[in-house]
């Protein structure tokens, strides 16, 4: 026993003297046992984890619920934010109209309540009426272009007839050459979402993608507002004049918000159904 104690003391003294270095035998032992240590560590971690779960299950459950609620709240806020952002962008576009055309008196944007069932001219209803300052035959526009006119009015709801309807005729011209024509709806083109620019010169230089604007001549529509783009040019049946198929700048099938122009420079004093 004394020998063993002496040996151990010797080892201890040696270890002190080699200063920080591991004794080779110990090093070897450590190397051999390292994988086993890893394994035991892993097992111990697992057991600790299990015990921890068992002990704190309720706390974790509560925490999990709170975090889920937090995530849901954040998701809702994010959705609200996205919606507000999209609405803001739309409203900014409408503000752009006012900046461009300072003579316009415009209402606040109105939501499209719904389309008239099975109407090929895509007439629709908006949630604004005479109480909101709208009058019969006021011009309706979107941020992209001319949409139509108010043809039915009540206190809080109005019906809009779009430029696809043959009931509407708009004095129009091209943005570049100022060539004039009359824009009207047509049964054949309405099903494709197009309208017709009639009475163009036979040798018109109108080309695809040219922008068509209102002239404002009849006092029903304000001048210089975008109507749409030329899709195609052809001769009429009698061969006397040419006409162009116009694709409205506004997506008339998927409108969600429009504004009503209640007044503008050159507006006709009295507009009746005939005009």
């Amino acid at each position: 026993m004394l020998c063993l104690l002496a040996l151990l003391t010797g080892v201890m003294v040696y270890a002190v003297f080699i200063g920080g270095y591991t004794i080779s035998a110990v090093g070897l032992f450590k190397t051999i046992t390292a994988p086993l240590q890893n394994l035991s560590n892993a097992i111990s971690e697992r057991v600790e984890y299990g015990l921890d779960l068992y002990r704190n299950a309720e706390n974790y459950y509560q925490e999990n619920r709170e975090l889920r609620q937090e995530i849901n709240k954040i998701h809702t806020q994010l959705a609200d934010y996205e919606e507000t952002k999209a609405e803001l962008e739309r409203l900014e576009a409408f503000i752009g109209i006012k900046e461009k055309h300072s003579d316009y008196s415009m209402t606040a944007p109105f939501d499209v309540i719904g389309y008239v069932a099975n109407d090929i001219y895509l007439s629709f209803m908006i949630d604004g009426g005479s109480e909101d300052g709208i009058s019969l035959y006021d011009t309706v526009v979107s941020d992209l272009g001319l949409v139509g006119v108010i043809t039915e009015l009540s206190e809080h709801v109005s019906t809009v007839t779009t430029i696809l309807s043959p009931e509407l005729s708009v004095a129009a011209c091209t943005s570049s050459s100022r060539e004039k024509g009359v824009l009207t709806g047509s049964v054949a083109l309405a099903s494709e979402g197009l309208c017709k620019l009639e009475y163009l010169e036979k040798d018109t230089d109108l080309k695809k993608e040219k922008i068509i604007l209102t002239t404002g001549e009849n006092g029903l529509f304000p001048g210089g507002y975008v109507i749409g783009y030329v899709k195609d040019v052809a001769m009429d049946d009698k061969g006397l004049t040419a006409y162009a198929s116009i694709e409205p700048a506004s997506d008339l099938k998927n409108l969600s918000m429009v504004v009503v122009i209640t007044d503008f420079n050159g507006k006709a004093e009295h507009i009746d159904a005939e005009s």
Binding site: V116, A117, N118, I120, P166, S186, V187, A188
Partner: protein
């Protein structure tokens, strides 16, 4: 005496439930008509006719007027135009089912077809053809005929839904009355 009063009350409750369900169905049809910009069947027509086939003339007339006015609103037509048509058809259907016809799907589809044809004809003549716009026949081809066919097909659904509602309330009522007084005249 008390038993009779009780019978009357249960009958009234069942009738109320039935009419609430019918009103809900009509409202759903109206919402369907006013949603989206695509072409759709005029579901208020089969709904009105199917309901009329299970009711008396006065109720049928009311249902026709309500559904017709809703259809006018949804289709942006002159208020009353479809209402007049549906009042006439609903009363006619109610009388036919009371005195002549049996509750059969084919009978109802036949009546819906006639009504859709008349409605489509009136709509085409007075809203489109009368103005003489070029290519006006395209409306008939692209809108009125396809929507009419869809309306007739949708009649199958309404026939069974309305029949189910009416029979549930009716059979329930008869069972209850039988339980309470097996010797009473249920009609």
């Amino acid at each position: 005496m008390q038993n009779r009063k009780h019978q009357k009350r249960s009958y009234a409750v069942l009738q109320t439930i039935q009419w609430i369900l019918f009103a809900g169905l009509i409202l759903l049809c109206y919402l369907f008509e006013t949603s989206g910009s695509y072409h759709k069947p005029l579901v208020l027509i089969p709904a009105a006719l199917c309901i009329a086939s299970h009711t008396g003339e006065i109720q049928a007339m009311t249902v026709g007027a309500v559904c017709g006015l809703l259809l006018d609103l949804a289709c942006g037509k002159l208020p009353g135009c479809n209402a007049i048509l549906l009042v006439i058809f609903c009363v006619m259907v109610s009388l036919l089912y009371r005195y002549l016809l049996k509750q059969k799907l084919l009978n109802m589809l036949f009546l819906i077809t006639i009504c859709v044809f008349v409605q489509g004809f009136v709509d085409y003549v007075f809203y489109y053809a009368i103005w003489n716009y070029p290519d006006v026949e395209l409306i008939l081809e692209n809108v009125i005929i396809p929507c009419g066919i869809m309306t007739i097909i949708s009649g199958i659904v309404f026939y069974f839904v309305v029949k189910k509602i009416a029979e549930s309330c009716q059979s329930h009522r008869i069972q209850k009355l039988e339980k309470m007084n097996p010797f009473s005249d249920l009609d």
